[in-house]
């Protein structure tokens, strides 16, 4: 698949001293959903704003569809849309005027049929004549998405698309994002809701202190850095682990009645059948067995922790 976005050695300073982005290199494939994860202040929004031309960057190059975003800003911006993190809208304007205004800004001639279709898709048609100030937070978020899509972009940036929206609306938003992607829009989203990245993305990058510390496919990342824990609840508590079980690095939990063993998903060294046979051979009676797999959130926290420790050491 062709790269729709290519970033090379991107650096951005604020006030000439604070390095918000440091040597960012990133390629985004056409048609994918890419999640940019990172704690607050990591540089996610600065990266998106640099790509979209909202802030100037200091060094490096950014290309969209093989075109430099500075030299060919008209062509690159025409195919780019952005949904900002904050609910930045003209509150005294109607939904209809707001969306048509953005389409005009992006150099497209009025197309009321398309805007109507878009507003219907986003369940905003009934509210088209309402002023923004009369809408709920969730509706405002939808208006921002409608504005970003008003000029039919190929590359869409969603900066914290579900920040401060309720669970039900978040699920609705995810459906909207999936539908857009199905229609051929490449999506880059920043989030610190890990389950959002887990639900939506094909690939994930983790950014911390202005640096990308990891980029990988979501499933590979979970497999590579994820862990699984098997918990075996015994009928009778035991004093200590010995016999066949000593080779498994078990720990005893909950009044010595639960054997817990954590192993890396990539290692493939734990044979569960053999493990359970060994438990049986040692004469223990099993009450229950459960498995827990680390989520992207746990991987993310682990990565950021390791990265912060490394930064402190350096």
């Amino acid at each position: 698949m062709k790269n729709i976005l290519e970033i090379e050695n991107l650096t951005k300073f604020y006030n000439k001293s604070f390095k918000a982005l440091e040597n960012i290199n990133l390629n985004i494939k056409e048609g994918e959903i890419f999640a940019l994860l990172g704690p607050n202040g990591a540089g996610k929004s600065t990266l998106i704003n640099s790509i979209c031309g909202i802030v100037n960057f200091n060094t490096g190059t950014i290309k969209i569809n093989d075109m430099d975003i500075i030299k060919n800003y008209r062509s690159t911006r025409k195919i780019t849309g952005i949904v900002p993190q904050e609910l930045n809208l003209e509150t005294f304007e109607t939904v209809w005027n707001n969306v048509n205004y953005t389409r005009g800004l992006f150099g497209k001639k009025p197309d009321h049929k398309y805007i109507e279709k878009l507003l219907r898709q986003l369940s905003l048609w009934d509210k088209k004549d309402n002023k923004i100030k009369e809408l709920s937070g969730g509706m405002k978020r939808r208006v921002l998405i409608a504005k970003a899509l008003s000029h039919q972009p190929k590359l869409l940036f969603l900066d914290e698309p579900t920040a401060s929206v309720d669970v039900e609306l978040r699920k609705d938003m995810w459906d909207v994002v999936k539908k857009l992607n199905k229609d051929g829009v490449t999506i880059i989203l920043t989030t610190h809701y890990i389950e959002e990245a887990e639900e939506l993305s094909d690939r994930v990058a983790v950014i911390n202190e202005g640096k990308i510390i990891l980029i990988d496919e979501k499933d590979k990342l979970i497999k590579k850095l994820g862990e699984k824990t098997i918990k075996i609840e015994l009928i009778q508590p035991i004093d200590k682990i010995n016999g066949n079980l000593s080779k498994y690095n078990f720990t005893l939990e909950q009044s010595n009645s639960v054997l817990s063993h954590t192993y890396n998903l990539s290692s493939n060294i734990t044979d569960i059948t053999e493990l359970l046979n060994d438990v049986k051979k040692d004469g223990y009676k099993i009450k229950d067995v459960s498995m827990e797999q680390s989520s992207l959130e746990q991987i993310f926290v682990k990565l950021i922790k390791e990265n912060n420790n490394e930064l402190v050491r350096n």
């Binding site: 704003n49 909202i54 100037n56 911006r77 780019t80 930045n88 205004y101 953005t102 001639k109």
Partner: protein
Amino acid sequence: MNWYGIKAIYVHEMERFKRTLFQSLASPIITTSLYFVVFGSAIGSRITEIDGINYGSYIVPGMIMLTILTQSISNASFAFYFPRFTNTIYEILAAPLSSFEIVLGFVGAAASKSLIIGCVIILTANFFVDVRIDHPFLMMFFLILTSITFALFGFIIGMYAEGFEGLQIIPILVITPLVFLGGSFYSINMLPEFWQKISLLNPVLYLISGFRYSFYEVSDVSLFTSTLTIFTILISCIIFITYTFSKGYKIKD
């Protein structure tokens, strides 16, 4: 050129003007009427003619200039500061628009509003005094050029202002005193020689003088100097805006 983009900004700004049409027009009309009542009738009736022109009529160009300058500045500064304040500026910056096109949209709308208000003031003045326009094309030339120039100046204020209070500082502390001291209500020939020389340092004097010439063929300074002054301010504003946009200062930093 992104004509649709320019049109979007222009129409968006004019819609705001339409929404607040009553306030936009009522305020300058009432203020101007009060000036005519106080200076034209009450005080003006005791002042003899200036350069052969009835005092009430003499102050009309100055009154229009005062309104045009303040309205152009406030319209343009508010228009550009408001999206900065609400953070809706992001979509203007992310759109395929050059800095020239952005300025054209905002300044075009601000200047248009000022022109409409200026024309309404001329009509209002007719209710109070006799208004004669000897050179209508020259009058329109000055009116349009001044509206554009001071809308550009207002745009600069909108780019640099840190708050709504900041939008008011320059118009109140700089522009209004310059207009009042720039011969709006008098001819500088009525001042002592020292103050005449000081008045010549005031750029607004040249605008009012040129504008008054288009009405009554009387002026404090030559028409050429007036035209040169307005173009100098215009070009300075363009250079300043171009520089600020190229650096991204206050907008893209």
